[in-house]
Every structure is written in C-alpha cells, then in structure tokens.
Amino acid sequence: MSAPGKGILFRLVERARRRSAWLFHFNAGACNGCDIELITCLTPRYDVEQLGIKLEGSPRQADVLCVSGPVTRATREALETIYGQIPYPKVVVAIGSCPATCNVFAGSPMIEGPLDRIIPVDVYIPGCPPRPHQIIQGIAQAIERLAEYRATPAGGER
C-alpha cells in the first residue's frame, strides 16, 4: 500500500498498475486443463475485465506472464524469448501444479521444468487444475507485486 510521503504521480502510477494488468498466456506443454480455467475467468460468470485485466496477444504489451504446463524441451526456448520480450515491470504467475512441481511429469527426460529453474516466478497457483477463483486470487497477488515494483539503478531486476 502507498506509504506516506510519496508524490502524486507515484501514487497515480501505482494505482494505474493495480487497475490495468494485461496478461500474456503461455502454454508450456500443459494438458489444456489450466488454460480452460484461465479463459473461464474472462467469461460473464467471473468477468476479470472488471479489474482492468485482459488477455493480450503480444508479449510486448503484457504485464503478467501466466505460464501453465511443466515446461517441456520444445517450449523452453520460446518461453525464455517471450519472457525477455515483456518489458519491465513484469510478474510471472505459475498456473497449476505443473509449472510448480512438474506434477505427474516429474522425472521425465522431456521435461526441463519446474518453471522457477528457467525464469523467476512471483506467484504459484496450486491445483490440477486450479479453480477460477484461485486463479483470480493469484493474479490479484501478482498485480500487488506489479504495483510495488521499483526500478533499480542496475536496470530492470527487482
């Protein structure tokens, strides 16, 4: 939350980041279960657009990277590229058990995950698949980290 002594512009930017998070959804070899649950969040029943959240097609325009799946060999390079293409400030949300632990695929030679071996992860949403409520809660936590982001002199990293 906003500490005392911050400028009005500063608080405006924080507020804007809280109210306008654009998601990029990356399927790193998921079974599609988590993807369906994520899309469910956009339907009239859950309607996350109320919070200013929308799915973006281009990683250049995204703030939140939502990854589902245990990161297979075939998707690793694409995942790294996509992560690099998202401008700062950005947060990564791991949707489901697969990106967190590799789930039932753990130990497979085709799997390069879990996700935090490859890119830094901010929020884990457990479940196989997680319910839309949990996904919305996880994204809300991610947005909180997004709003509290401070640029460092080194540029970029938190």
Binding site: L12, P44, G57, R60, Q61
Partner: protein, 306 residues
C-alpha cells in the same frame, strides 16, 4: 480563422482539452457497453485513462536508434494529424473556415491509418505485416466510396467549405452519402465486424504487435482521438442547421457523437469478424453503390437544368 481562434480550436475545443477526455470516455464507454451487451459488468469508465498511465510508466524496450525514432514518430504523427483534423471541425455557426478545408480535413483523417500501415511494416513482425496488409486493403476498399460520398456532398452544395457543405447539401444527396460514410465508419475505427487489422486471437495485435509502453500509449491516444474526430465529422455533416446559440451547437455535436458511439458498439458486440474478402466485397458492392447513387443525384441536381 485568425491565429488565436485556430489555437483555441486546436488546444481547447474541439481540440486537445475536449478531445482527450472525450476520447478516453468514448473508449471506456465502448468497453463498458460491449461488456453490458455480453452480460458482463465490464471495466470502469476510467479504464482507458489508467491503461495509458500504466503504459507510460513501463520501461522502454532497448531498440536500435533508427527503429526507436521511427516507431515513436509514427504514432506522434497520427496524434498530431487527428488533432489538426479536430481543429477544423465547424461545430459553431460562426466558424466559416476557409476554401478547401474539407480536403485538408479528409487528408488529415487519413493519416493515422497510413501511419498504422507503415508502423506494421516498420516493426518487421510477421503479425504486423499481415495486419498492415489487411489495413491497406480495407483502407482502399472503404476510401473509394467514402471519398465519392464526400465529393457528391461537395458537388451538391457547390462548395469546398465544410461549414457550407454541412448546411447546404440537399437531403436527396445527403442521405445516401451519409449512409455510405456510416458504413465506412466501423472500417475506419477498426471495430467489429471490420476489426481485421487488429484482430486479437488471430494476428496478435496486428500492426501494433511490436509496440510497447510509451509508443503504445501514443497509439491508444491516437485511437481515442480518432473516435472523437470521426464521430464528430459525421455529426457536423449530418446536421443541416446551426442554432445561433453556442451551447446548443455544442450540445448537438456531443449528443450525436455519443449516439454514434452507442450504435457502433452495438454493431461491434452483435457481429463476428468478417474475412478480408467478405469485408472488401461488402464495401466494393454496397458502399460503392450508395456512393454512386449520391454522386448521380448530386450531378443531376447540378446539371439537371440542361
């Protein structure tokens, strides 16, 4: 139009000070209306404002200087062109304009789509190129009937003064011409069913795929201003009379613009996206037919005495 008056039109009304909040309001209302039509609650009306603030606060992506220069100047040019077009709109009866202001206004309104096509190719993204190609094809298909309708109105009114065209065009010409322009309006604003160039879930963000942060914020601004300018343009062309009272002129202008926003969003929520051949065929067939009718009636009225 003296210099002070031009400056007022550019910066206050119907320029920056009016058009910026109005553009945000129109974009926000569009998203809200679409959500309501789909049975959702939708984002608050202030959403486009927060989107722009957030985009401005994103860290820019490192680019080669030439590319950075190009990708920043194109949306800036688009914003400037739409602001110039807005300043030329004759909202009040006291504004007489100058000879040929119609030509200048139409030219300025055509710049943002052109910038977007260039931006799509300049970004060197496949999606950008596909989007730019679609935008170019639609732009040609819509501009032929659109310009023909404007020529018909100008010929019927016997003037290139925007204010005189708005007042003097007879209804027999105005009706088919306005219908043509209305048909071209969703094409120019890239809304459904003509949202081919920025088709999300299909070609990512179209020509704007490579744009990030500040440059994307500029495009969002240009898009909001385009809504104000194009609906305002139709509003000035549609009403044949100006009251002598400034306030009523202003009120009529704003109300017609907002009704157009409502109708366009209703159309967008009710329809799916056309394929490119369907959209161009519709424009070449029906919009051209309407424009041809307008042109024929205009020239008959003009030379009918022989």
């Amino acid at each position: 139009m003296n210099a002070w008056r031009a400056l007022f039109a550019l910066l206050v009304f119907p320029g920056l000070l009016y058009a910026l909040p109005m553009g945000w309001f129109m974009l926000g209302a569009g998203r809200k209306l679409t959500a309501r039509f789909q049975g959702r609650i939708g984002p608050p009306l202030s959403q486009p404002f927060y989107d722009v603030v957030k985009l401005l606060a994103k860290q820019p992506v490192a680019r080669v200087p030439a590319e950075k220069w190009l990708l920043t100047s194109l949306p800036l040019l688009a914003v400037g062109a739409v602001l110039g077009a807005l300043a030329l709109l004759p909202v009040f009866s006291s504004e007489t304009g100058f000879v040929g202001d119609l030509v200048l206004l139409v030219g300025l309104l055509e710049l943002p789509p052109l910038c977007m096509i260039l931006a799509g190719y300049a970004s060197r993204s496949i999606y950008g190129e596909v989007g730019a190609t679609r935008e170019a094809a639609l732009s040609i298909a819509s501009n032929v009937p659109y310009l023909a309708a404007l020529v018909a109105m100008a010929a019927a009114a016997g003037s290139l003064h925007l204010s005189q065209i708005a007042v003097a065009t007879p209804w027999m010409v105005r009706l088919p011409a306005l219908l043509t322009i209305l048909l071209c309006l969703p094409v120019k604003l890239r809304t459904n069913p003509f949202s081919l160039s920025n088709a999300e879930q299909e070609i990512l963000a179209g020509p704007l795929t490579e744009f990030d942060g500040r440059q994307l914020a500029l495009w969002e601004l240009a898009h909001g201003l385009e809504w104000v300018a194009l609906t305002g343009f139709v509003a000035t062309l549609a009403v044949p009379l100006r009251s002598s009272h400034l306030f009523f002129d202003f009120l009529g202008f704003v109300l017609i613009s907002l009704v157009l926003v409502l109708l366009l969003n209703l159309l967008a929520a009710a329809t799916a996206r056309f394929k490119l051949w369907q959209a161009t065929r519709l424009l070449w067939r029906w919009a051209s037919l309407l424009a041809a009718v307008a042109l024929a009636v205009a020239f008959y009225l003009r030379h009918g005495g022989y």
